[in-house]
């Protein structure tokens, strides 16, 4: 039994080491505080137990002491705060050149699609030593994408993208949990993260791909007629989308936003909300007409036509022939 009785989770990402280091530091600091208090309690309780003829000695208090035991913990707390904040900042800032995987959560499964086109359910294959960025949304309620061995977790919300990233450090199979309660089969919304050596990963990637996600997106872009207005020149009735992604966009109402995944998504589903300066509100909403997977593909496509040359390999020019646009069987009805 004891052989199967681990007390420490596996460390399998770059983040895990950072989190564990802080955790150990906290264990030591709070352990010492606990010990200090418990020793005082036990010592006082024993030393000053009531004895006949011995009265308690009244002590009013001591402002210097109060200040000491407020300030010292405060300073310690500030160290913990700052350390925690640094770790968090790293956790929440995906590296720019990370491999992208789109995640769609639904009651009660995880649907994952690699930018290169592989689709998976409740399983994610990733290479060791490469940054992977998950761009996640939910079809229904709030879920949470949690990989204990990587020490990362991020809620997955309906109606927007949230992002998390990791770099796996050790080949193996690790738990994937849904950590935000989501209904009947919440505890069944689990899966595996399979971390593979680069060579094995390449082999895995070469099997069963349907072509890059951006190519699927380009096809949808054409089918939905997006290209009629969003032309590759300045003559279109909608903005030219080449080179837009990741850049600031001037809005009609005077604000400026960055064209990130959430902005592109919002423009597809609620075009009137943040209209680009100089364009008429003529675009219809695609809410209800495209599935979460199709939105993901469109976002991937719009990204690909903004990418610089180095990354352009995922763009349409390399699209495999015979791209299928259909989603998997039970996935695509939109909210």
């Amino acid at each position: 039994m004891l052989s199967n009785f681990p007390l420490w989770p596996e460390q399998a990402s770059t983040t895990a080491g950072h989190v564990d280091a802080l955790y150990v530091f906290l264990l030591i600091v709070t352990g010492m505080m606990t010990l200090l208090i418990f020793i005082c309690l036990v010592y006082f309780a024993a030393r000053f137990r009531s004895r006949p003829g011995v009265r308690a000695e009244q002590i009013e208090g001591s402002t210097p002491l109060e200040i000491t035991w407020s300030l010292i913990p405060f300073l310690i707390f500030m160290v913990i705060f700052a350390w925690g904040a640094v770790v968090y900042f790293k956790e929440r800032t995906p590296p720019a050149d990370a491999t992208e995987v789109y995640v769609v959560a639904k009651q009660w499964m995880w649907k994952l699609e690699h930018a290169e086109g592989q689709r998976e359910i409740n399983e994610l294959h990733v290479p060791v030593g490469r940054d992977v960025k998950l761009i996640m949304t939910s079809q229904d309620v709030i879920h949470s994408f949690y990989i204990p061995a990587f020490r990362i977790k991020q809620d997955v919300l309906p109606g927007r993208y949230t992002v998390e990233w990791f770099r796996a450090t050790k080949p193996g199979t690790y738990h994937l949990f849904c950590a935000e309660y989501c209904g009947t089969q919440h505890s069944g919304m689990v899966g595996d993260i399979v971390v593979m050596a680069p060579a094995q990963y390449e082999a895995w990637m070469n099997g069963g791909s349907t072509g890059p996600l951006s190519a699927t997106g380009e096809k949808i872009f054409a089918e939905l007629g997006c290209s009629t207005c969003h032309r590759g020149d300045t003559q279109g009735r909608g903005p030219n989308l080449q080179g837009v992604f990741g850049k600031p966009v001037q809005l009609e109402d005077g604000r400026t936003v960055t064209a990130d995944e959430n902005y592109v998504r919002e423009c597809i589903l609620d075009p009137g909300a943040k209209r680009v300066k100089g364009f008429q509100p003529i675009m219809p909403t695609f809410q209800g007409l495209v599935s979460e997977e199709q939105v993901n593909a469109l976002v991937a496509y719009i990204k690909s036509i903004s990418a610089d040359k180095g990354e352009a390999k995922t763009s349409a020019s390399t699209a495999a022939p015979g791209v299928q646009k259909s989603a998997e069987p039970n996935g695509s009805q939109v909210q």
Binding site: A45, F48, R49, G61, P73, F81, G84
Partner: protein, 540 residues
């Protein structure tokens, strides 16, 4: 402790009137306290029963005892019953109701009929909650997260929400009554600096009840409106924002934790002073730390949302403020510890509970530092680490304080002495059972076991710790049953209690046990400072 000879049966609040109506229509704060005592004990054992079923289900990795939906309802109803129908009313509505007027030398609370109304609102809310549970229950978790609660579950959300809405008004009215009473009804000479720290704690608690509870009421109405009328508030499908729900919910529900723990801190302060025979160390720091907790407690709600999709910068601010709220709690622990120094310490049952409180609250508080650290919270939030942490505060802290207070004031409340040996044994069993139940959950949480999992057959490596936890829960259950049994026993067979069995300071001990209906024969005139144990012990 010296025990003066008990007096023969005198007229008191218990024997002045008889009959059901003399209880149901009473405006005596002491009788209303007993009405609350019976009602919250009822809900405590219902909530405890749910907890026991949860622990039994988790004994094995597979989901084999109940259905998944049943399990989800069990933890939901466990949370709702324990939070809204036990913990929030526990100390304020029972011990606070009984003691606030006695401690400040008043005849009753400022609004005796509103006090009775608050109990009826609690009972109406409780009856609605019972009806809801008996006719299907709710499966959202006590947190009601949208859009699951508003548009996905098909359980009885609106009814449960209304039950909590009604019970919330009971809490508001109690808070209102305390604030007015403490301001307006203090006996001559009972200045703010002479108030027992129990009163300061309840004053701080009442401020939170008054300012916080309306927010959960509004939130609940919005949930019901979205669910029943499909107004788009929280569900993005309807144009709403699910994070708005979480902000509103935690704006009340985080301060609500302080509604539970502050009164327990007040109780423990009284017990430690009495059983070390000392004025509390740093009186004004302990008093103002209660107010500081109430104020800062309103500024940390979003630390429940570090992975919810909130801005990184907002997370930084809320993490920082969470450390700020930890300081006044630390100040309290240090002052309690310092009070023991050079005391004359007695180990009666209330003091054992107070020691238990100190140990468990310290662990609960310090593990809060882990959760406030952003980088660690990402890993452990929504796991058993959080479950363990808040049980250390809400059960290890609040319930230990409640039980300690019940033992300390039982002679005053009932006029009878409880059996000391049994009480010490129960304190020990509760302490051991509690740690055995919840300490393994810290380990489970850091290993990554998510909370609210009905079935963990995907990760059978978690079983050993779960078995330990379930074993502990059984021990804890015994520990909780014991006091109920011997308190009931003592009402009939217990020795009559003298007016001041502990030779304790405080006006409540200067009147008879049990007190008369209007508490004091003559309005007291206070000429001494709080915790004048030196004078009390000198006269013996």
């Amino acid at each position: 402790m010296p025990t003066p000879t008990p007096q023969p049966e005198r007229e008191n609040y218990l024997n002045k009137h008889y009959g059901v109506w003399s209880w149901l229509l009473t405006t005596d704060h002491k009788r209303i306290a007993l009405l609350y005592l019976v009602s919250i004990t009822f809900f405590f054992f219902i909530g405890g029963f749910f907890a026991l079923l949860i622990r039994l289900e988790l004994l094995t990795p597979a989901g084999d005892l109940v259905q998944a939906d049943t399990y989800n309802k069990l933890f939901t109803m466990h949370g709702m019953v324990m939070v809204f129908f036990f913990l929030i009313p526990s100390i304020p509505a029972v011990l606070g109701n009984f003691l606030v007027p006695l401690m400040i030398g008043a005849k009753d609370l400022a609004f005796p009929r509103i006090n009775l109304l608050s109990w009826y609102l609690y009972i109406i809310g409780g009856a609605m909650m019972l009806h809801c549970m008996l006719t299907g229950g709710v499966d959202t978790g006590w947190t009601f997260y949208a859009p699951f609660a508003t548009n996905f579950t098909n359980t009885k959300i609106v009814e449960a929400a209304l039950a909590i809405f009604v019970a919330g008004f009971s809490s508001i009215l109690t808070g209102l009554n305390f604030v007015v009473t403490i301001h307006r009804m203090r006996a001559p000479g009972m200045t703010w600096s002479r108030l027992p720290l129990f009163i300061w704690a309840h004053y701080a608690t009442s401020i939170i009840q008054l300012l916080g509870t309306p927010v959960i009421a509004v939130t609940i109405v919005l949930v019901a409106a979205e669910r029943a009328l499909h107004l788009g508030i929280f569900d993005p499908k309807l144009g709403g924002d699910p994070l708005l729900f979480q902000h509103l919910f935690w704006f009340y529900s985080h301060p609500a934790v302080y509604i539970m723990i502050l009164p327990a801190m007040g109780v423990v302060t009284e017990i430690i002073a009495c059983f070390s025979r000392k004025r509390i160390f740093g009186y004004s720091f302990v008093a103002f730390s209660s107010i500081a907790i109430a104020v800062f407690g309103f500024l940390v709600w979003a630390h429940h949302m570090f992975v919810a999709g909130m801005s990184v910068y907002a997370a930084l601010v809320f993490s920082l403020l969470s450390y700020a709220v930890a300081i006044p709690s630390a100040i309290k622990v240090f002052n309690w510890t310092a009070t023991l120094y050079k005391g004359s310490i007695h180990y009666d049952a209330p003091m054992l509970y107070a020691f238990g409180f100190l140990g468990l609250f310290t662990i609960g508080g310090l593990t809060g530092l882990f959760l406030a650290a952003l980088g660690i919270d990402v890993h452990v939030t929504d796991t058993y680490f959080v479950v363990a942490h808040f049980h250390y505060i809400m059960v290890g802290g609040a319930v230990m304080g409640y039980l300690g207070g019940m033992h300390f004031w039982w002679p005053k409340i009932s006029g009878k002495l409880y059996p000391e040996g049994w009480a010490r044994l129960a304190a020990l069993i509760v302490f051991i059972g509690f740690n055995l139940t919840f300490f393994p959950q810290f380990l489970l949480g850091y290993m990554g076991m998510p909370r609210r999992y009905y079935d963990y057959s995907h990760m059978p490596e978690f079983q050993v710790l779960n078995v330990l936890s379930t074993a502990g829960a059984t021990v804890l259950g015994v520990g909780y049953l014991l006091p109920m049994l011997y308190f009931l026993w003592s009402m009939r067979y217990g020795k009559p209690a003298p007016d001041n069995p502990w030779n304790a300071a405080g006006l409540e001990w200067k009147t008879s046990s049990p007190p008369t209906t209007f508490n004091f024969e003559v309005e007291p005139l206070v000429t001494w400072e709080a915790y004048n144990y030196e004078d009390l012990d000198a006269s013996h």
